[in-house]
Amino acid sequence: MKIDFTQLTQFLQRFKAKPYKIYPIFTPHTGKIIEFKVKEGDEVKGPSGKWLEKPGTPLFVLEREKNPKLIRAHYDGLAQNVRIELLNRFVEAGELVLEIRHPLTQDEIISEILLNALLVIRAPETARYILSSELGKRLEKEGLGKVIVKEGDELLIMTFMKRETPIFLKEKGQYIIYQIYFKPFELVQAGEPLLGLCPVEDLPHLEKIIQRIKDEWSL
């Protein structure tokens, strides 16, 4: 596998044009919107606090059968496209009410880019994962971004209810361990990323791109 750098550049350009992500907010069920709590361009906040115990900013109130339900924001950002014309109107479930424009930070963009560019090893099952002992030792000694692995190497051990299954690298070629997404022995949901691998020959190019993002996005 090789990194498709033309696609990556396109990706970057898109981010540059729109350095944010848009989260649409839909109605969860039918009902009447009886109040808007935000105006166009208002700043909204998602749940906060150490345990996310402080709820997000109220967005609007949807009423069905005398039960006014407060819909709150789940992301930080700005409210936009607030459809004020829906006020006091009956709406179906899944109707778009407003959007939250979430500005992306440098780190978020880099991680987005990396997830697209790297060969990502994802969790095959919901289980706990640890690095294979050899890889763990090498990483400790040489550090991230230096260790080279090849096809057939044992990368990870999946452990679930004391049953251990090794995970091997199946792709051809030589790769560098570029990113680790999990913490040892923490429960990882199926499909979540575990490792990000970069082909050895592409490493200088990728690092150049990352550096460019860092320079250009001084947000």
Binding site: W51, E65, K66
Partner: protein, 738 residues
């Protein structure tokens, strides 16, 4: 010479600082004496030595005058400040000066299980004539430290109280008296194992039958933390000490309904006065037995005369407790004899015989049973009270005959026969069976009784439906976002679903009538002692109106309902703390009703169930009168459990503080309904004490279960069935009595 004077000057300076700290900015008499003293102190070596002595004497005389003046105008809040001052004597000072030698157990200094609690084995001596006698005692108490932050100002952590309990047991094994010293602003309110509330409850439960003489001395008695080592035979209190249900700051924050921030000083001072927390007030209320006098503005760490007095009082108190178990005559003779701190006229051996231990525990029970009884508001009629007493006596005799005389002789016979039959069954069977049949015929027992198996209970046919259900609307489950629960139609929710979200199992609060009507067999609930009513023993300002309002709104006289009922035919005695009446807080009336109910359960040998609709703790408006309900009720619980009763507690909604840390928390079987919040102190108090915010699920039942506080989580929809099942399985075929 000069060095001595310098030292004396330093002491005077300390005293000036002390007076300033205690009396605050408004105390004008001290003027700029402190500044002058400080200047004198700094220029000490520049002043001609011959003048120094007279100057110091002048300052000393003025300070003495000021001290007396300060004492005259001492108010309750200043007393609170005295107990917290770093110059006040601490337990280590007492150990140094009152006891002849001591050995700290469980670590000393920072290297400790819990530096806020000190346990030590100590020797205390007394002189009788020319002889000096030594007594071994266990000393347990809080150590505030002179400004040592790691001691948390004497706030005992749960494991600190656990350590105290361990050494109480050790003293019991060794048969030596225990001296408790209470210097705590309150327990450290964290729920880490063994849990603040749980450990206090365990301590109280154990202390109620500790078979050695116990004396406590209170300097700073902060509510539950004080109670954890405060259930004793004799309670002494320092003249400048305070003993209260809550710190005046806490009371002010509640009274001002503050969410955060500091309450105003005037309100704090007002609360300190209203809470009746001084030694004199407490003596009047009957929550303590004796006051130990202190020098003006309180004893400090170098007041050796005070320690001498304290030593004498501690020995005398222990003597009295011991002698009361021996004979009244000896006790009287002792009390009348002339004892002086230097020379006692008697030596009293503090070791108790088995019989004396029984009397000791009996005396303790009586003492706490009588405490605060004067404040009970109950309509009294001469004939009624006589009739009531007669009925009680009759009941007690009838049950005694039924259960003790008949049943025990029956049991003995049965056991004897079973032993005999099993040993020689082959040989004797032809002979034994006819005799057994004849015996059964006489006793009237059926040869084969059908043992009812659990699970046969039917739910009542005409189901009580909460008036909350009479609304045509829907509500959202609070956990909808997490579990995606659909909206609930109110008539369904409060009707068929018993107020439980069918998707995630969240329990919506229900009014207490729901439990009374749906848990027990129809028509079997008979309340008693309804007329006992909450009063205002402290004359707390504004409280009488609040009580009146609560009475009008609920139609109840107190927050505790006591009733007899049947569940699936099993007769029980139950109490219920009701949220509607002052948030289910406990005061004198509630405590008394609880004790009477559990005594009835004991006499009539029935299981006892405590339902907690909600409890907010001890009612602060009743001050220490409320606090002593903790040991009082726990003693009744211990008495009931020891005599073989089955005591089950079921928590619902919110259960916090005092009651959970005593008569509820000491139950061997505790269950909670889902969505209950359970703990010692609420999140705000924890944050203010520890500076650490707690996670939102800190007090959840799931966590309470993990900490071992409760034995299981129940579902409201199956509550009747579960309760019936519990009575049958845990009670066994004999139901509950051994």
């Amino acid at each position: 010479m000069l060095i001595e004077l310098h030292k004396k000057l330093k002491d005077l300076l300390e005293l000036a600082v002390y007076i300033k700290d205690i009396k605050g900015e408004d105390f004008s008499s001290i003027g700029n004496l402190y500044e002058n003293l400080l200047e004198f102190y700094h220029n000490f070596y520049e002043i001609p030595p011959e003048r120094i002595s007279s100057l110091i004497n002048d300052y000393e005389a003025t300070l003495k005058k000021i001290l007396l003046k300060a004492e005259e105008t001492l108010n309750p809040y200043e007393i609170v400040k005295i107990t917290r001052h770093p110059q006040r004597f601490t337990l280590l000072d007492i150990l140094e000066n009152v006891y002849d030698s001591y050995m700290e157990l469980g670590g000393d200094g920072e290297l400790n299980i819990d530096p806020a609690i000190i346990c030590a084995k100590a020797l205390i001596s007394r002189r009788v004539g020319d002889e000096v006698y030594f007594h071994q005692v266990m000393v347990i108490g809080h150590e505030k430290g002179h400004g040592e932050e790691f001691r948390r100002g004497g706030s005992a952590a749960p494991w600190g109280n656990e350590k105290a309990l361990r050494y109480m047991k050790m003293a019991e094994t060794e048969g030596i008296p225990i001296h408790f010293y209470i210097f705590t602003p309150g327990a450290y309110p964290i729920e880490d194992y063994p849990g603040a509330a749980q450990q206090i409850a365990r301590n109280l439960f154990y202390m109620s039958k500790l078979s050695v003489p116990t004396i406590s001395f209170i300097s700073e008695g902060g509510s539950g933390g004080a109670e954890a080592i405060g259930l004793t035979d004799l309670r002494l209190m320092a003249e400048k000490g305070y003993y209260s249900v809550i710190s005046p700051e806490g009371a002010a924050a509640i009274e001002a309904k503050l969410k955060d921030g500091r309450p105003p000083r005037e309100l704090v001072e007002k609360m300190a006065k209203a809470l009746k927390l001084t030694a004199k007030d407490n003596l009047q209320l009957g929550t303590i037995d004796r006051i130990i006098p202190e020098p003006p503005l309180g004893a400090r760490r170098k007041d050796y005369d005070f320690f001498k007095r304290l030593k004498y009082e501690m020995i005398k108190a222990t003597d009295e407790v011991v002698l009361q178990t021996r004979s009244l005559k000896m006790f009287r003779k002792y009390a009348l004899s002339k004892q002086t701190p230097e020379n006692f006229s008697y030596f009293v051996n503090w070791e108790l015989s088995e019989d004396e231990k029984e009397i000791l525990i009996e005396n303790r029970y009586k003492k706490y049973r009588e405490m605060t009884r004067w404040a009970i508001l109950e309509p009294k009629g001469f004939f009624k009270s006589i009739a009531q007493k007669g009925a009680q006596l009759g009941q007690s005799i009838a049950y005694e005959v039924k259960y003790r005389v008949l049943k025990s002789s029956h049991k003995t016979f049965k056991k004897f026969w079973e032993d005999l039959a099993s040993e020689s069954s082959l040989l004797l069977k032809p002979v034994s069976d006819p005799i057994k049949t004849v015996y059964n015929l006489i006793v009237g027992k059926k040869v084969r009784t059908k043992i009812r198996m659990p699970g046969e209970i039917e739910s009542e046919s005409d189901f009580y439906v909460s008036p909350l259900a009479l609304q045509d609307k829907t509500v959202t489950c609070p956990q909808a976002e997490k579990y995606g629960c659909p909206d609930l139609w109110v008539p369904d929710l409060y009707g068929e679903f018993c107020g439980v979200c069918p998707n995630c199992g969240y329990h919506f609060p229900l009014e207490y009538h729901w439990y009374i009507n749906n848990l027990f067999d129809k028509g079997s609930v008979k309340t008693f002692n309804d007329e006992i009513s909450s009063g205002n023993p402290l004359n707390f300002e504004g409280y009488a109106e609040k009580l009146k309002k609560a009475r009008e709104e609920t139609g109840l006289n107190s927050a505790l309902l006591s009733f007899e009922a049947k569940i699936g035919g099993i007769s029980i005695v139950a109490v219920m703390l009701v949220a509607d009446f002052r948030q289910g807080t406990v005061g004198v009336a509630e405590g008394e009703k609880f004790i009477r109910a559990i005594e009835l359960a004991k006499i009539s040998r029935r299981p006892f169930i405590a339902l907690v609709h909600t409890t907010g703790g001890i009612r602060i408006h009743e001050g220490t009168m409320g606090v002593v309900q903790m040991p009082r009720c726990t003693m009744a619980v211990r008495d009931y459990v020891d005599s073989g009763g089955l005591y089950i507690v079921i928590y619902d909604n919110n259960s916090y503080a005092g009651p959970v840390a005593s008569f509820l928390g000491s139950a061997p079987y505790q269950f909670a309904l889902k969505s209950t919040r359970l703990g010692f102190a609420g999140p705000r108090v924890i944050f203010e004490t520890t500076g650490q915010p707690v996670p939102p699920d800190y007090h959840s039942v799931e966590n309470a279960l993990k900490r071992g506080h409760i034995q299981g989580i129940w579902d409201r929809r199956e509550l009747r069935k579960k309760l019936f099942f519990a009575l049958l399985t845990m009670g066994g075929p004999n139901l509950y009595y051994r």
